[in-house]
């Protein structure tokens, strides 16, 4: 019940409320702008939050992440260009609706479903997070390492098209995190005599490089391929309003989507896109009008949108209770916690419980803020996005990334790291490596190493400790099972594709 005093505390703080509303608006614009992502915006704004109080910084970035997930639907429905990967599922029915003059109706369904899904996710988070933290406190180093291992394998193998490239990306993230002094023995690793390298690679410049500068490189590359002009699909007179009778059939899909998204959100690395597509598929399977799905069914907008946003809250659970970020946004937020000297993990609920619940309260108010802005102003946001000159926007983002990387620690070495990380990030995207797995693994590596070596010390160097303890063994098996399922899925997809070609 800690959430109610926290909500009261946030509501009575006008400056915090203003920050939440501002973050909701920024996130929506960023999410709706094709090519810009909430992760990039958060990474770029991260250094600015050095100068804010922890709750201000966390709430601002957390709400941008939430609102950014919703903002993707604006571009998907109105421009047929998904602003985020997850909103590609919304696009399937959203754009046909927009083409028939029902853009406003589709946007309102997307907004209400996003609010339902997001609130469901947050409520489940508030109920479950204390319970998970209490269990996490009882875990020893072998169990914690096994969870890290499962997270590495799931993140590396489940996201993206190639398991090998996903795992390779995760391993490269681990190797980059090893640069610097060993925290236990203070031995130098991969420093090659450089003083700068002995301090390690900073999280902030790496993230700004990979997500922001890397995106600028990618946008420069895609500029020459863009053809035609993006146009907004305007609503007809009756296509802008939404009645309860119209939304009623969407409600079960939104609620189911909320549960699917919340369930997937707890698992590190899976993310919104998977939740949105699973919810869409499940919704279509159970729909009374499956023949309409894909041609402009309002339920086809509600199901993925609710799931997409429901991921947001529960994805914070592994971060806050175990220190394991489940998404790139979670990884960046972990950076904010560390910058402000807050240790994330099970002890967070003993040391900074009030802050955590205030953050949840800010998230809930953020949902209402983007809901209100979206319900009444989504088309205005779309018009604003059409007016943004991308040929000016990306050069400005380019310049901002340098000064932002420098501002983090006032270090020129960080700027160099950011520049190289930007190019590496672009190369990884170009060759289909998994940037998210790379960054999340970079963040997880230190904790994983610590628990691994503590476990080895506990067992006098014997690796069997991970197999002898049942919880540790269970998590190791979860990781291996996730990879096995993924391999099976890929083999099935290939067989279907080959069969399809054979029939042709």
């Amino acid at each position: 019940m800690e959430i109610f005093p926290a909500l009261l505390s946030v509501i009575t703080d006008p400056s915090l409320l203003l920050a939440i509303v501002l973050a909701a608006a920024v996130g929506m614009v960023v999410g709706a702008t094709p090519g810009l992502t909430a992760s990039a915006a958060i990474a770029m704004l991260l250094p600015i939050t050095f100068y804010m109080s922890p709750i201000f910084a966390l709430a601002f970035l957390y709400v941008i992440g939430k609102s950014g997930r919703y903002g993707g639907s604006i571009a998907a429905i109105l421009f047929n260009t998904p602003g985020t990967a997850a909103s590609a599922a919304t696009q399937i029915d959203g754009y046909p609706l927009a083409r028939t003059g029902k853009a406003g109706k589709a946007m309102k369904v997307a907004t209400i479903s996003s609010i339902i899904g997001d609130l469901m996710g947050d409520i489940l988070l508030v109920i479950g997070v204390g319970f998970i933290a209490a269990i996490a406190l009882k875990l020893g180093p072998p169990e914690t390492f096994a969870i890290y291992f499962a997270a590495f394998v799931v993140i590396g193998s489940v996201i993206g098209n190639s398991i090998v490239k996903g795992l390779a990306s995760a391993l490269m993230g681990i190797l980059i995190a090893m640069v610097g002094l060993d925290p236990i023995s203070s031995e130098e690793r991969y420093t090659f005599g450089s003083f700068d390298l002995s301090n390690g690679i900073g999280l902030v410049p790496l993230m700004i490089g990979v997500f922001v500068l890397g995106e600028v490189f990618a946008q420069l590359g895609s500029r020459s391929k863009v053809t035609g002009e993006t146009k907004e699909n305007e609503s007809t007179a009756d296509g802008n309003s939404l009645t309860w009778e119209e939304y009623k059939p969407c409600l079960p899909h939104a609620l189911r989507g909320g549960f699917i998204g919340a369930g997937i959100g707890v698992l590190p690395g899976l993310g919104s896109a998977i939740a949105a597509f699973i919810s869409y598929g499940e919704g279509k399977r159970r729909a009374r009008n499956p023949e309409m799905w894909g041609r402009g069914a309002l339920e086809g907008v509600a199901a993925p949108e609710a799931a997409n946003n429901a991921v947001s809250g529960p994805s914070m659970a592994p971060l806050l209770t175990l220190g394991i970020p489940g998404s790139t946004i979670g990884a960046i937020l972990l950076g904010v916690f560390l910058i402000h000297g807050i240790q994330v993990g099970p002890t967070l609920f003993l040391t900074d419980k009030e802050l955590v619940y205030k953050l949840f309260a800010c998230g809930m108010l953020g949902i209402l803020a983007y809901g209100l802005i979206g319900y009444f102003g989504a088309t205005q946001v779309a018009r604003l996005i059409l007016k943004i000159p991308t040929n000016v926007l990306y050069p400005l983002i380019f310049l901002t990334s340098f000064v932002a990387a420098y501002s983090a620690r006032g270090s020129m070495f960080d700027v160099t790291v950011m520049t190289i990380a930007g190019f590496a990030g672009w190369l990884m995207r170009k060759y289909d490596f998994n940037v998210a797995a790379f960054v999340i693994s970079f963040v997880l590596a230190k904790g994983a190493e610590e628990t691994f070596r503590q476990s080895l010390l506990m067992s006098d160097g014997g690796a069997l400790i991970f197999v002898e303890r049942p919880i540790a063994l269970a998590f190791l098996l979860v990781g291996i099972a996730a990879m096995a399922f993924r391999i099976r899925g890929i083999v099935k997809e290939r067989r279907v594709a080959e069969g399809g070609l054979g029939d042709a």
């Binding site: 090998v164 795992l167 190797l175 690793r189 600028v216 391929k225 040929n391 930007g422 070596r453």
Partner: protein, 155 residues
Amino acid sequence: MRAYAEGLVLALIALFALWGAWQVPAASPGDTWAGIVPFSASVALLLLSGLMLAGAARQTAGDTGQDQDNVATLQIIGLFIIALLYQQSFRWFGYLLPTAIVAPVVLYLFGVRSRIGLILSVVLCPLIFHLIFFVLLGVFPPYGEVFDLLSWLQG
């Protein structure tokens, strides 16, 4: 061909990482070796690169479609070189002068052709970023070892 190249690059990275891990001194008695995680990760990466190379060998030839994005790649490499020079020039000339030069160059690369816009960017970009980060946020600006425009302006 591309799959071979990817596998080979990954193998080279893994071998380099393996060599780096091997440089870590041995552990003192009762302690764990500081190189154990880098070593294990390098070996795993080497195995994955082997898998990629094996996969490349199984792939049928003939997927060498004409590379249409050569121009885009060259532009990106150009921008990366500009980025490297830009960050290095902070050390030599501080923040203002390099930003005043790079801003119109990058705008031009992204297709801005308005002369007034480009000229305005020379003044506005360094001014606005300076005001936000170094005045409002109070970050200490990088000092140019060769020539610092900010110091010169401040007398």
